[in-house]
């Protein structure tokens, strides 16, 4: 049943486990710091920052030693975890997950750094929550055992619930509950699906499950159960309503992690579970996914347009950008899926940075209302410049990372269905509309509010946080191959695998439900005959 050769030999340094559990150890250490409040605050911040930077260093090392020419799982570790049920502690990365691991490792120190200026109550707990969150995030992306994956995937809820609820804004309790229960309801259905997979195939190893899809009658229900979880996490319209609430009420660091990493868990789930394990069902449901993605792109862009709250607007724009991701994934083309991957990474950087930028002015004026600002370019030129880079990245201007992802997704969807590509294209225009308008109202215009116009420019810490992100957005924009070459083999493998499953399976998709050309690999698809 072994699906893939494992690159790493036994006894090698367990670098992925160290990356995952080092933050947890750091959290434990911070828990036991003794002393006055000021001392504890300082020590907790420094320890947290140090630990997360070490993890980032390890992440860069993993990236550097990652072999981008293969689709195999690398840095694999495997140990028996639960006897009897035969659950494994089984971790490893491939071309899809390694970038998310790096993204998580990158955003955590940024959040901790940002909190030094903006979080002043219960600092120790705040840092601990973020370190535990980092453990859970990295664990989610490296887990190769379904139950292990679920443990990390769901474990994220605990620190995030507390982060929103304790350090959040006025409606934090409502938002925390909504976030928690929405996500939990989706996830538990996924748990049942994972258990069904286990009982049918007798294994919890993700590579084995990927190589052995079940018949379509099973896939149908399992896809829906997993969809419940990933669609909420993504979030896809119409189950996106928790996101604006959670984003608006969460503290800056919480919003950054939510937008930067947690949303990606949905897309990652689709790529890791839905596509390889339920290939026929994924094809079968592709039209539905297209429909939902298009609605998300257009509808939530329009909603974003009328927002008066900056964070809420960026939150809605996230839903629209995630619409591009689901669209790309379900095109089943190389460009589409690679574009979706790229879009996720780019969105992690851009929207994370945008939330940091909102945090910068929020710390000074304690308002997220767009109308409270205006004309701040005179006093804050660096801020305006950085804001412009990320705003353009969000719009998808060529030269920024946002362009590559959206373009590739559009390219992929154009091959499948021109109407879909056309409708998705309007989303790009709408995106430009609301972002540019936001920029004009906040940065330019008459300085109507004296306090807003007299704010200080970005501090050193904020520069340290934002400038590297800006550089990365630009580098990815002009040299996308740096990411795409690592993603490529894994995506190829994914497509071959699901193509093989489609060709080999006895399943013939009910043609009347499929728009023409959805099945590129179907040899005798009589699409024209049916029309």
């Amino acid at each position: 049943m072994e699906a893939l050769a494992q690159v790493t030999t036994e006894g090698a340094f367990p670098i992925l486990s160290v990356m995952t559990f080092l933050p947890l150890l750091g959290a434990l250490a911070i828990l036991f710091i003794k002393g006055g409040t000021d001392f504890v605050t300082k020590a907790a911040q420094q320890t947290g920052l140090f630990i997360s930077l070490v993890v980032l260093g390890l992440g860069i090392y993993v990236m550097g030693h990652f072999d981008p020419t293969t689709a195999d799982f690398q840095f694999v570790e495997r140990k028996l975890w639960f006897p009897y049920l035969n659950l494994q502690y089984y971790v490893g990365v491939d071309g899809i997950s390694v970038y998310f691991v790096l993204l998580s490792a990158l955003l955590t120190p940024i959040c901790i750094l940002a909190s030094i200026q903006s979080v002043h109550s219960r600092v120790r707990e705040y840092i601990i929550a973020f370190l535990i969150l980092e453990t859970m995030m990295i664990g989610t992306f490296i887990a190769l055992d379904t139950v292990l994956f679920y443990v990390f995937f769901e474990g994220v809820l605990i620190p995030m619930f507390l982060i929103i609820g304790v350090w959040g804004g006025a409606r934090r309790i409502y938002s925390a509950f909504k976030f928690f229960l929405y996500t939990l309801l989706g996830s538990v259905l996924m748990l049942v699906a994972l258990l069904v997979l286990y009982s049918q195939l007798g294994t919890t190893s993700i590579p084995d499950l990927m190589a052995n899809p079940l018949p379509f009658s099973w896939q149908f229900w399992l896809f829906l159960a997993m969809f419940a979880s990933f669609a909420v996490k993504m979030p896809m319209w119409p189950v996106h309503t928790w996101l604006p609430d959670a984003h608006v009420e969460a503290p800056t660091g919480g919003s950054v992690i939510l937008a930067g990493v947690l949303l990606k868990m949905g897309g990652y789930g689709f790529l890791r579970f839905s596509l390889p394990m339920f290939p026929e069902a994924s094809h079968y449901f592709a039209p539905l996914m297209f429909g939902l993605s298009i609605v998300a792109i257009i509808y939530t862009s329009l909603v974003a347009l009328v927002q008066t709250d900056m964070k809420k607007m960026i939150a809605y724009s996230s839903v629209a950008h995630m619409g591009f991701v689901t669209l790309g994934i379900f095109t089943f083309t190389k460009q589409g899926i690679e574009g979706a991957m790229f879009q996720m990474i780019s969105h992690g950087l851009v929207s994370g940075a945008l939330f940091l930028l909102v945090g910068v002015v929020y710390d000074r004026l304690h308002s997220r209302e767009i109308g409270r600002y205006g004309g701040i370019v005179r006093n804050m030129p660096i801020y305006a410049t950085l804001f412009m880079i990320f705003m353009l990245g969000s719009v998808g201007l060529p030269g920024t990372s946002g362009f590559v992802g959206e373009f590739m997704v559009l390219l992929g969807s154009f091959q499948v269905d021109t109407r879909v590509a056309l409708l998705a294209g309007t989303g790009v225009i709408l995106g430009a509309t609301y972002m540019l308008w936001l920029y004009r109202r906040v940065i330019f215009g008459p300085a109507e509010n004296a306090d807003a116009a007299s704010m200080n420019d970005v501090t050193a810490i904020e520069k340290v946080n934002l400038i590297p992100l800006a550089i990365m957005v630009l580098i990815l924009g002009v040299a996308p191959m740096s990411v795409l070459q690592g993603v490529g083999p894994t995506v190829n493998h994914l497509l071959t695998q699901s193509g093989v499953a489609l060709a080999a399976g006895e399943f013939v998709p009910p043609q009347e439900n499929m728009p023409a050309g959805i099945l590129p690999e179907q040899p005798a698809a009589p699409a024209e005959v049916n029309q």
């Binding site: 619930f161 609820g165 925390a176 939990l184 538990v188």
Partner: protein, 489 residues
């Protein structure tokens, strides 16, 4: 060894417990001034010794019968009895401080616990309907008295009386059911009943009167585990009884009653699986639903925990209802984890005092994360665990139960279970919300912490278990597998 000696050695833990507990009564009567502490210590030693005796002949893979086959000793019994000993010990240890200085600081308290435990041992080892009934009544009578232990308050007396009256009705149902089964099979001995029913069920199916009897027996036992629709007594008794007694009620007696249900459906009723399965499935589904929905509106902590226990029994019943060895294992895993979580919860509740009593309103916990952060984080961990969020132990209990349901193709039950667990998460989160997101300023009276070393030890152990289960689950699971392996043919 003579046959009699063999039989006595099989029942050694029970005999030891019976003699020892009676001796405690005498000791207590001769000591002055309540004498709770010394008797409690002696009782704990006695329980420890009986725990040793349970395992003194090693793990027994073969079931052994004694006393004209009325008594059975097997691996399942060994594990369940050990759970009862540990649960009772935890309940006694956390309640010592609570009882101190009140009218309840009397030596009868541990003695009653001992008798109740003896009854539960006999229930678990019963291989005859009469032995079952005697064990059940012994255990219940002690529990009735304990519910009314704070005899000077109307609430506690009411709880005792309510429990007694309703318990008597359920015993009546049980006895009536037993008589119907006896009427058909001509025996009360499990093996004979099982053989007769099995022979009768093959071509034509057993007569309706036997099914009546079986359902009545199950109803009587469902009362003891407070499964819906026989749960009405639970909130009132939990609320009315002194908190220390509630802790004991919540942790221990359900293990014995659940074990007995397993004994029956895997023993004499084994061939009637298609008849008892719908009954248990229905009870499981109803318990999960009522437990989840009714708890949402509760303001009283003890009532909330009562509904929580109703819901949790529903999950444990899933394991029994699917009727496989995997199911029984999952029930044992679930129940044992639930027991540890309950011990931790009650330990923390009893450490938090308000005007001399353990807190009983959820609002009393307001702002606890600011005033007593350590305790607040501990309780939060237990609440997340109760709502089944990984990586805490409660998740693995649920994982096991749902896995057994899925493996037995009970998909609807599994989906139903996970959805009610989301609903239930709401009220567990509500407790966390009160502690973390609300401030202590509008509390009329500040909450203080009073605890002694045994309580701290129990709570710490339970927290370590909840957080650390994910790291080393092996030993615990092998015990559960051992217990169910002996039970299945």
């Amino acid at each position: 060894m003579s046959p009699l000696m063999t039989e006595i050695s099989l029942a050694a833990p029970e005999i030891l417990l019976a003699l020892g507990t009676m001796a405690m009564m005498v000791v207590g009567a001769f000591l002055r001034g309540g004498a709770l502490k010394p008797v409690a210590i002696l009782t704990l030693i006695l329980w420890l010794v009986s725990l040793v005796y349970i395992w003194i002949n090693g793990a027994s893979l073969e079931a052994q019968r004694a006393f004209s086959d009325m008594f059975i000793a097997d691996g399942f019994g060994q594990v369940m009895k050990s759970m009862i000993v540990m649960g009772s010990a935890a309940a006694l240890l956390i309640s010592l401080k609570d009882l101190e200085g009140t009218i309840m600081a009397r030596f009868e308290y541990p003695v009653l616990m001992g008798f109740s435990m003896l009854g539960m041992f006999l229930m678990i080892s019963a291989n005859d309907f009469l032995a079952l009934y005697v064990g059940l009544e012994l255990s219940s009578l002690a529990l009735y008295v304990m519910a009314a232990f704070n005899r000077n308050t109307a609430k506690s007396s009411e709880a005792g009386l309510k429990y007694f009256v309703l318990g008597a009705i359920s015993s009546g149902l049980l006895l009536f059911g037993i008589s119907l089964i006896y009427g058909f099979t001509g025996s009360t001995q499990f093996d004979v009943v099982g053989a007769t029913l099995s022979a009768a069920s093959v071509p034509a199916g057993v007569p309706v009167v036997v099914l009546f009897g079986m359902v009545l027996v199950l109803a009587g036992l469902a009362f003891k585990i407070s499964a819906v629709p026989f749960h009405m007594w639970t909130p009132d008794v939990y609320d009315g009884a002194p908190t220390s007694v509630t802790a004991f009620f919540a942790i221990v007696p359900k293990v014995a009653a659940m074990a007995l249900i397993v004994r029956l459906v895997m023993g004499p009723f084994e061939d009637l699986v298609s008849d008892w399965q719908p009954v248990l499935v229905l009870m499981a589904a109803l318990s999960m639903t009522v437990g989840a929905l009714a708890a949402i509106v509760q303001k009283n902590l003890k009532r909330l925990l009562a509904y929580s226990s109703i819901g949790n029994m529903g999950y444990a019943l899933i394991g029994v209802a699917v009727g496989t060895a995997e199911g029984i294992t999952s029930m044992i895993v679930y129940l044992s984890i639930y027991m540890v979580m309950t011990a931790g919860t009650f330990g923390i509740i009893m450490a938090l005092r308000k005007s001399g009593f353990a807190v009983d309103q959820i609002s009393d916990l307001s702002g606890l994360s600011k005033t007593k952060p350590g305790i607040a984080y501990g309780l939060a961990a237990i609440m997340f665990s109760l709502s089944g969020i990984p990586p805490l132990a409660g998740f693995f209990g649920k994982l096991y139960v749902f896995q057994s349901a899925v493996a037995a193709h009970a998909y609807v039950l599994a989906v139903f279970g996970v959805i009610t667990s989301v609903v239930a998460a709401w009220y567990y989160l509500n407790i966390i919300r009160t502690m973390f997101f609300e401030s202590a300023e509008n509390l009329a009276e500040p909450v203080t912490v009073e605890c002694d070393a045994p309580l701290i030890a129990v709570v710490t152990l339970s927290l370590l278990f909840i957080v650390g289960f994910i790291v080393m689950p092996g030993q615990w699971l092998s015990l559960a597998h051992f217990a169910s392996a002996g039970l299945m043919p």
